[in-house]
């Protein structure tokens, strides 16, 4: 479910709702394969994500993954991963309500993030996942390039600052404010 926040010559900002998210903490060296199998995706390398277009598995820290699935699959995803980790020291938790999600697409989506994130996103690999901050709040960003989403970046942040993130994204996409040299 996508709600348009703003659309300018610079970028379109849309809020994505209804995704299922699963927090997984485990020894990835030991349990990574089991998690990958339960998620139906390859285990991402450090700082990367893997995806099949529907499901998405991101490397959040050396012992933490985030699995994103369609909202209707969240319960099963939690159960599948938890089941795969039976007997393993691990923490699997439904965190679908914990974050807000925005897609930044359009003509120059990278410029919107360049105004907010102190990260060199331009040089990130296509499957790179970067946790950083957007203005004053923590976020994670990665590239999207899908038929439904369009080409650009997806940004997740904590739910309580949803309004703040929407406003700073919209501000950074304000008409006439592109970063091209003039």
């Amino acid at each position: 479910m996508a709600d348009a926040i703003t659309m300018t010559p610079l970028a379109g900002i849309a809020e994505i709702r209804g995704l299922g998210m699963v927090l997984i903490r485990a020894d990835l060296g030991r349990a990574g394969d089991a998690i990958a199998e339960a998620a139906g995706l390859a285990l991402p390398e450090t700082g990367r994500f893997t995806t099949d277009g529907l499901r998405w598995l991101g490397w959040m820290s050396p012992d933490e993954l985030l699995l994103i699935v369609p909202g209707s699959e969240r319960g099963r995803a939690v159960a599948d991963v938890a089941g795969a980790l039976t007997g393993e020291h691990a923490l699997v938790q439904d965190v679908s309500d914990m974050r807000c999600v925005f897609d930044v697409t359009g003509r120059k989506p990278g410029q919107v993030l360049a105004k907010l994130c102190p990260a060199d996103l331009e040089t990130r690999p296509r499957d790179g996942l970067r946790r950083t901050r957007a203005a004053q709040v923590a976020c994670a960003v990665w590239r999207i390039d899908g038929a439904e989403t369009g080409r650009g970046w997806r940004l997740i942040a904590f739910r309580s600052v949803r309004d703040y993130v929407a406003q700073v994204l919209a501000g950074a996409a304000a008409p006439g404010s592109d970063l091209d040299p003039r």
Partner: protein
Amino acid sequence: MTTGPFRLPAGGRLIDRSKPLGFRFEGRQMTGFSGDTLASALLGSGQRVVGRSFKYHRPRGILASGAEEPNALLGLGQGGRFEPNQRATTTPLVQGMVATAQNAWPGLNRDFGAINDALWRFLPAGFYYKTFMAPRRAWKSVFEPIIRRAAGLGRAPELPDPDRYEQAYGFADVVVVGGGIAGLNAALDAARRGGRVIVLEQAAHWGGRTPVDHPGGQGRVDALLAELRALRNVTLRRNTMATGLYDHGYLLAREALADHDPNAGLPRQRLWRIRAGHVITATGALERPLSFAGNDVPGVMLASAVRDYIVDHGVAPGRRIAVVTNNDDAYRTALVALDAGLAVPVVLDARPVADGLLPGEARARGVRVETGCGIARVLGRKGVSGVEFCAQDGSGAPLGTVDCDVIAMSGGWSPADHLWSHCGGKLVWDDARAFFAPDPSRQPTGADGRGNVTPVGAASGDLAVAALTGAADAAAILPVWVMPANAPAKMRFKMWLDFQNDVKVSDVELAAREGYASVEHAKRYTTLGMATDQGKTSNINGLAVLSATLDQPIAATGTTTFRPPYTPLTFGTIAAEARGAVFQPLRKTPIHGWHEANGADWEPVGLWRRPYCYPRGAETRGQAVAREIRAVRSGVGTLDASTLGKILVKGPDAGRFLDMIYTGMMSSLPVGKCRYGLMCSENGFLVDDGVAVRLAEDTWLCHTTTGGAERIHGHMEDWLQCEWWDWQVYTANLTEQFAQIAVVGPYARRVLAKLGGMDLSAAALPFMGWAEGELAGIPVRVYRISFSGELSFEIAAPANRGLQLWQAIHEAGAEFDITPYGTEAMHVMRAEKGFIMIGDETDGTVIPQDLNLHWAISRKKPDFIGKRAQERSFMASPDRWRLVGLESLDGRVLPDGALAVADGVNANGQRNSQGRVTSTYHSPTLDRPIAMGLVHHGPERMGEVLEFPVPGDSFRARIVDPVFYDKEGAKAEGAADG
């Protein structure tokens, strides 16, 4: 087309004569052209005096043509867009611009502050220090009011800035600062080696001095630009001033997008935060004034600026331009002036011989060159009318007088080494060339410890790079710091070093004589270089004078510290998007919208906004709080507790870990139960409290205070990662995953029963138990915990269902007149029960034992965080202040934080104290004041009366038990019919 009397009939490479622009200065309508700066438009209109000096209020004109300008600082704009201290020389002219002079009261031409100029003998260096150290009546009544009236530079804007600003992060392998010929060449070199290259140019046009100073220079610049523009890895950014270079290649730069042009619809300015692998400073050089008597009279200008205005803007700063110099470069001004059809009555060259190419060319064109000469006196006060010249090596005996209306002066050039110096680069004095230049052996260094800044061109001391005509054509400079060399004191009193702060040669000499031998001390004593121009035109001249007075080489004196920003930044640019609604992130619970719609009066708690209370109709805050408390105590209320921290702790070693984190025992908590716990710092002080819940054999959920969630989660991770990294424990901060709703009051159980789905009877869910299930079809976890003494359920639901649950509860509770209550009602109710609040009863110096919370500290555990600290003698001392209740004797609420006095005085002569108020309220339940406080030997002094004096008043209170309400705990099971 021409505008104004001083616009030349032709020329002006930067202006478009087909686009005239109207503007106002001091209420007068004037006209310039597109491409003008405000300074060139003022000069073109014949406006000579543009302001008054800071201390003596002397009339001042435009000195320079760039960022170094000390005089032409104007107030620009009106209303919210008014901005003081704007440099006319770097401000592009915009149609309709409104500019006002500063420091001129009541007006530019009749300035009352100019009385200071007549009193100059009484305003020497260090005047302020001397005056305010020993004030005398005359100063107090006569001079100080005048000084105060005249003090300050410009006036602050009074309205909010309506413009938009933003910031952007940039990354590059090489950043070239300066788009002159040296910078463009360096950029091309760098670009060919690969990697991302950014070139920043402060002006609106490329090329720096080259197009002005060198025939054919423009062609060279254009060719370089064409090559650079064809390269994909190069970004060329104009109107972008690099303001500071910081650690590890962090460069700040301000891009002007729509300065003073609100019609453009763009952000006004953008602050670039660029991380550069390597910085190339191609920042050029700044021309120095010469120190002669009257060098601040309007019409005395830098020689380079005079030719800039002629070549760039087709503006004649005057009709008869006398040149005074100690180097060859200034002859360019004479030649440019002749080309423009202006008169050059004389060139006064301080050098005994001037036989270089440029002097030769000037002589060949008939210019009178007087070598070995300097200026004895400038004729005119509000504008130059002539010059009296003298021998440079003499004491000022006049040799003759020349009529002129402009004096173009050049004391040589100083490389602009600001960025180099900001980040640790060192300078070395070059005696022969008379300037400080970057010392290549002492570069600024980056994260890898290697040099990360390279100066090129004039900024490196290679002034000849600009001499594209090929030859190192310039004859040697003759350092001249005072003109004439043996000028008597009377003349030195009229030689300005720092035009903006009104510091003269005599002031620096006085500072040296009074013992301010260090350049940093002399700077502060005289204020040399401390104005908004940061001494760009004055520092070198000033320290040369200081060196001469101290009779030491300039290298021994050294420079003052270069500090960013290179030119001032407006606050809007620094704040960027962080203003108004997004000044800082506001954290909102899932129920925030309901609170807003129901009239919540907000209280900031950290970054959260929580309802303080929900006033109805004409209710005051106090009335609303009282109503909410009565509703909870007699019926049922709801509190949005979603902000409480919720940290999941899981793993085989989780119990052992929590036994270290909490002062109490958490490993022994049975599954299905809740336990109140305290957390201390390693220093023993109480830092947070909350209820821990045992969810499963290896899983706990730890509730923290609202402000504690991130802090405590970080605290836990710190110990897990850095101390006990072999313990098998994972944590997850789930604060945002759950909405949490407290349903509190005698009828709480009946309301929840109506929702259906769970048995919440006392038997099924006893006090300090929890249960999982569904309420109103929503998955929930219900904790039976209470901070008010009433029957209370805290219900956690997935955040996205939180509002739905809240509304269902309110629907079900309507028949009981269910009442939402805010943080203040919560605070009062916990105080009525004698429960402590982190941040009220604790202030970072309080240990749990002070709060009689010994029961929550395990004596069995060998260790917990803070245990060792609490064993220190002063922590175990019986003399610590401890928690008691306080009962006001006269029915008035005690003032928060008031101190209880004791007999005697301390070492500072203050009354001794023996306690303080930590929480104080009017209790609506008891209809009387209640308070808690920390008191010396408090619990052993029940019944004693303490005195709490406050300014103009005094309160008396009796020490009592801190539990004011329901001491037996009879209320915790709710209404009999509940």
